[in-house]
Symmetry: D2
């Protein structure tokens, strides 16, 4: 018998009333990206069953697109342990936690008219420029009052912002959930976002002189990686979050002058392709050549818009794993903002 | 109040034990392609509620990837009324109805070794070349015995093939379900597939002289379109099935020398993009300039691998519509193979 | 020394006044898809230097996008030997040979207004619906007068159409150049295009009863492949032209009950990706598992819009090869329309 | 006459011996992305003819892919005025300036073997991990000796690095050319790269305490934008460089509490698509809703791998504009590293 021809694809019809979990399991008998949906669920569950520190990289306009609740859920319930995000997603989270909204719109629209009406467009999402400026001002004014004068890691800054937001809002957002759950958030390009704009506006008024210790972010994430029994990664999109988490393995190997073990589990949900040569679309095989991903890692590159794939996979993971059984890495962020890894 | 800012995006967390239907409804409150999943469900349900003839275009290696059961379900339960397919999907359906399989494989493999082992690869699907040749032979031998000597439409040919398969197999495949449900199947590039190869092999042995009346396929589909109260289209991928269904509207308007009303409902699930200029990736807006799609059509272009999107949407449609309420177009294929539209 | 680190990438600046050939050679020292441009040139030149029959598959709206002159040039100068095309490209070629045009437009436009103004849109190309109907009528009326009553291959039909057009126009188009150069054209989905619509309109008026012998197309292309010393393929896009040329190797192996040698040289210019599982985006490695591509084939998959890549590559090939040295396969299409292979 | 049907597409054959400039002009008569190549050339030339400050955003592994020479040329000859780059491209530039190389490889390779051989892969580019560590060490050791103890902008840091490299190498790289030409370079995610890793390794050894003033980067780029008569942008890929340049307009409007005029000219070369909702693939129309791009801006989104499009466009621009005529914005970086805008 031909050993290439062992696992039959099982075409299945529609089962009325199916749960998401059942559907994902059925997809596991198919092929192409549908099969990868099931594989992503499987690998995520494996991470949770292992003593794994789970890094989550968040790029793309996921919060405007309505993914905030899911990410907050993942943080709160410790399906993930460390978040690396673009600044924009955190700004938009802040905007929503302050009680404002993003709106369903259309990409077929007159953008000049939108500009005149003070409406900002993110593909088919609309938002109020005026309300965004209120969030800018909130950040600017809060930063004004920050008593810490030394350089801060983005993790410290975002922890304090999460603390502040927790005091004024009951809504479970990303920053507030992370604050409560002791999940560190890093933002390697924080100045490249409305958070950066807000702080720059404050600096222009001489109301703050926030300085970020960007290199300490690098050291801390390398330390988290090196002190973990094993690490797993989940990437929504590519960008700086993916690269930053990938490089944590390399950094820790360089600092310790040892061979990088690489991340042991790896999931990416991407709309990019490998053949353009960039890091956002590159495969985990390529990452193995660098030692960023372990030789024997379990990995899947899932090609899909995350607004489709993330809700499905996250729901199926929540239905497939009993959280009580998880051995959560116990980061504690202390009063002086130091992190106990 | 700004009328662009009316429909709030509602970020939601994970609900354990969610059904597919609930998840899709939640996606309807999001954005990007996730929202389009919900929109596709909505439009499909609208078609079913209206007196609409639903054309379904099937391209891409969907049967090898395990979608055969879903498509058979859609036919059998008349969620669709007329199928236009690539030849390959019908050949692979035939292969499975004959009791053979496709297998889960990997795209990271030595293809020269596969060739030596007689294994054909379709991305991450494996199949036995030897078994494919058995399906070739089945078609060749069956065609040898066909008594009809005149040119046949592909619809007639595929009806007879479905009839034959129904006699020897109980499995609910595409061809057999369509035969039983009086759902016509058209295949505008039938020679461009293993069905074509099988018939060519027979012709080389002078065992058949099958001739297809390709133009009559065009006329029949135009007639189906023109006699329908309204038409809706669902495209899995692009290729000849999409173009063939799109042109049905144009053909009927040319023949009747009238203005084409255009398809009234339109869904496409595609991994292609508009900016390459091809028909497979083009938008329904573009199609409106041609009169292929109605001015006031309800439409959605969903960018996703169909192996993800189709199972979700089809399950949600099945859970959202009571089939007893549907007014099914009553095509009848008569003894002389003529179709009563 | 590490044998993986042998061929240096040579970053080069801009050389003012560079020829296309020089630029392509410079690209050969780079990476990603830029390198593939140079590789495509190299492989094409190798085909021309070998005793190779060159199949050219043409999909996507290449004629509306202005690629007609280049394809006519390739045919006329025998840079290619056999064309397999979508029907649309041949219809649009006919439209231009009849003295009409496609126009530069925009994809950001009101398509309802275009419809009302009788303008058809193909991404950023506009054309007159009325003028298209004139081309429809031309084909319909010409078909009416065709004296051949037997089933024709699409090759015969398109040869006669090229002959007709050559008589009424001096313009060097695809059909006319192919007619003059004895380059056969096959169109496996001919009914799926405005040619099909035109013939259907004629059939509705009972002015023609054109029947295509689709299976003979399959046999002829298999024969061309099997009688050639070696074969090479160049694909612009995927679709039926790619599949049809790929299957020629399989068909000839099935008919002769031998192992397929596979195409020896292979170039594809595609905007599709392998990970969606379809044939249009699949790699030549995958094709090797089927025996469609030779084990030791020279091949390149170039990811680019063909409107960029084709003009560059074709120009560089024309500047890199002396056509006088080519051993052209001498297909002759005889008076009775038979082809002497 | 129909005003939609004015500009004829002119299909042209191959002209032997064509220059790149001629080819690009011919593409200007075509459609799809080919036409956009010509449009990008036109807009770039318009920028150069106007009193425009040209920002250039550089993302994707462009230096490993051999684009370094072109970018250095653009800087040196002031085809661009301000560079915003990923850290990786600057690290790889440094690596090459130090006399080492990237190598042509393949993406079909055993990555575990590469890892064992100390070879890092970037799609089809190979490089020596050992040599990369030498570049790491170079940066680490150089940073050790830096006398500036205050927080630095990335612009200051990269200027000093360019100065250092200029002293030890004659090669015209990106950092060295920018140093000599007074072209500021910003790197909003500098820690997210091997530069960040190198500085982190130094910090771990307590040999440096480099602190970046990320917010001052934001302020400076906003000031460059606001003091310019007009601004133009050219994006290779998306990522932080694109967003950072886009937000410069927003920042300056917020700081000055005025309405943003938006960038007046805009070119992007991207392999991403708008329908995934992210900033990397978004259109310039979308950017107009935010005021990032001017209402009446001349813009083009070109979908292509930059390793194809950039060499063509840059060559055609160099052949279409007499640099002597350019009014270059006179940034001067002074001894104290302040920038005179």
């Amino acid at each position: 018998m031909n050993h290439f021809l062992r696992t039959k694809i099982k075409p299945q019809g529609i089962k009325k009333g199916s749960s998401v979990k059942t559907l994902v399991e059925t997809m596991g008998n198919s092929a192409f990206q549908g099969k990868n949906i099931a594989l992503a669920r499987d690998i995520w569950v494996k991470m949770l069953n292992d003593r794994t520190t789970i890094f989550f990289g968040l790029a793309g306009a996921m919060v405007p697109a309505g993914m905030r609740g899911i990410i907050a859920y993942l943080i709160k319930n410790r399906f993930i342990d460390c978040l690396v995000s673009t600044g924009a997603n955190l700004f938009h989270d802040c905007h929503e936690t302050l009680g404002r909204f993003h709106f369903q719109g259309s990409y077929e629209v007159d953008d000049i008219k939108l500009f005149e009406k003070g409406v900002d467009r993110i593909y088919d999402v609309f938002a109020s420029e005026k309300e965004f400026r209120k969030a800018d001002n909130f950040i600017k004014n809060w930063a004004k009052g920050l008593s810490i004068k030394r350089e801060m890691t983005t993790r410290e800054f975002l922890y304090l912002l999460g603390e502040k937001l927790s005091k004024i809002s009951k809504v479970e957002g990303i920053l507030t959930s992370a604050y409560k759950a002791n999940v560190p958030i890093y933002c390697p390009a924080i100045s490249d976002s409305s958070i950066g704009i807000a702080l720059a506006a404050g600096r222009a008024e001489e109301s703050n002189n926030i300085q970020f210790d960007m290199i300490k972010d690098v050291l801390e994430t390398a330390e988290i990686a090196s002190k973990s029994k094993s690490t797993g990664v989940i990437y929504i999109g590519g960008g700086t979050p993916k690269n930053f988490i990938q490089q944590a393995e390399v950094t820790s190997s360089i600092i310790s002058n040892s061979i990088s073990p690489g991340h042991k589990y790896a999931i990416q949900i991407t709309a990019d392709s490998p053949h353009w040569g960039g890091l956002s679309g590159c495969t985990f095989k390529e990452a193995q050549s660098w030692g960023k991903i372990a030789k024997d890692a379990r990995s899947v590159s899932l090609h899909s818009d995350a607004t489709i794939a993330l809700p499905i996979i996250a729901t199926a993971v929540a239905d497939s794993f009993d959280l009580k059984k998880r051995k959560i890495p116990k980061f504690v962020i202390k009063k002086d903002l130091k992190i106990n890894i």
